[in-house]
Amino acid sequence: MIATERPSFREPLADYPVIEGEWMPESSATSGIPEGEWMPESSATSDIPASQSITNPSEQTSRRKDLIRAISANVVAARSLAGASERAYQTPIMLHESVRSLIVARSGSSQQTFVGSSVDNNTRFADRVLIVPARPESATDQETAASPSPIASLLLTERSRADIQEECIPVANAALQDALTLVRRTNLSVTPRVMFSDDGILTLQWHRGDYGVALLFAGDGIASIAFSTPRQFYAENGIEMLVSEDFPIQFTAQLTQIVS
């Protein structure tokens, strides 16, 4: 189901921001990358010369792999840093110049995960997309739930700290479960500001300057998305999505706008 078909109570983002760059086609992005090439942090090499013209196909493949390794290592480093942080309210991860944003969208056909990434301006190829190994199709929800996620850790930490009215504790717990389900399933990796209200409502907010996007959970299986732009207020727009659905493109685009 696409975003515009979802039950919404207002058409979102009349003045929708233009996002630079496009998702790289799957066919061109996957060529020459064997599965399991996800590099450990120790093998990071981020100083790859990318301004040279590459004509040899084998050299191109090799360079592509090197670049992806380098960016992958930065992704891993960014995730570990977010996991180690104990701060209650974090700003989006901006560890390295070559990894400006980590937005995850799932490809329906191949179950591969695309991570949008703004790399150096000189880079000739794969300059917007990084492919990371996706969760195997055989993986169960339990396996997914057990996988470490910095945002999941942050959510659990905030829940343990939150001061919630006694009668609203079930709402907060259900909201937490909804958020964990969504975050783990979509591999969302840009660290938000996490806030529990005393009425149990959970808010994940990404905000920079005049632009922002917020996910609100009330434990009813629906995530409400609200946008903030110079001409729009959080309270006057929104999309609703089931936590079992993928993020609408408006959400990922706005998040890219915020962290890039």
Partner: protein, 207 residues
């Protein structure tokens, strides 16, 4: 229902002969930020504003026109320090912006009602200073909305309060505090305004 009729008349416990009258659109409000006020650096966040206080029209702010620095320190800062920690700074907001804040209330698939989000009242109870005012959700709870949806709507309003309406936290010294004489004159002006209103009403009745 969705507007704020309480804004039209004073909410001072001493009624119209006390205080400065209802909060006017050209005023500016001061929100005191303490060490334990949730925030992100110099920016307010959604949880900087207490949901329960907003429901009860009890989120306290000061009216810049009618508060001196000494009243701010003695009536706002000092009593709050034991509970909320030392003062970190202040955040300001224009009343016009607060009153322009609106919210969409979902009323079914693809339907919503757009109403005022926040009321600004000159609510003063015994023990408060006369330049006190309060914020509250404007009629949001009166609409027939589910509990979950209501919670989300209120959260959105507080997101806007934090990011769109109130300024970044600044040092209190950066504020243009009123001189006690100015505040005294404003108080006299308020009394004269009420007196003039009473005389006008009396003359209309007599005619």
């Amino acid at each position: 229902m969705t507007d704020c009729p309480e804004e039209q008349q004073t909410q001072h416990y001493g009624r119209k002969w006390r205080g400065f009258g209802p909060v006017r659109n050209n005023e500016r409000l001061i929100f005191a930020v303490f060490d334990r006020t949730p925030r992100d650096g110099n920016s307010l966040i959604k949880n900087s504003f207490n949901n329960s206080h907003l429901i009860a029209y009890e989120e306290s702010v000061a009216r810049q026109l009618y508060v001196t620095r000494s009243v701010f320190d003695s009536k706002i800062v000092s009593p709050s320090i034991p509970l909320r920690g030392p003062l970190v700074g202040i955040s300001c907001a224009d009343v016009t912006r607060l009153r322009r804040l609106r919210v969409d209330i979902p009323r079914g698939p693809n339907r919503f009602v757009n109403i005022r989000a926040i009321c600004v009242l000159d609510k003063v109870v015994a023990g408060d200073f006369d330049g006190h005012a309060t914020l509250g959700y404007a009629g949001v709870g009166a609409l027939n909305v589910g509990k979950e949806q209501l919670g989300k709507v209120r959260s959105r309003i507080r997101l806007d309060l934090a990011t769109k309406v109130f300024s970044e936290v600044q040092h209190p010294n950066n504020n243009r505090w009123r001189h006690p004489i100015t505040v005294a004159l404003a108080r006299a002006h308020s009394v004269l305004r009420v007196l003039w209103g009473e005389l006008s009403r009396w003359s209309r009745r007599s005619a």
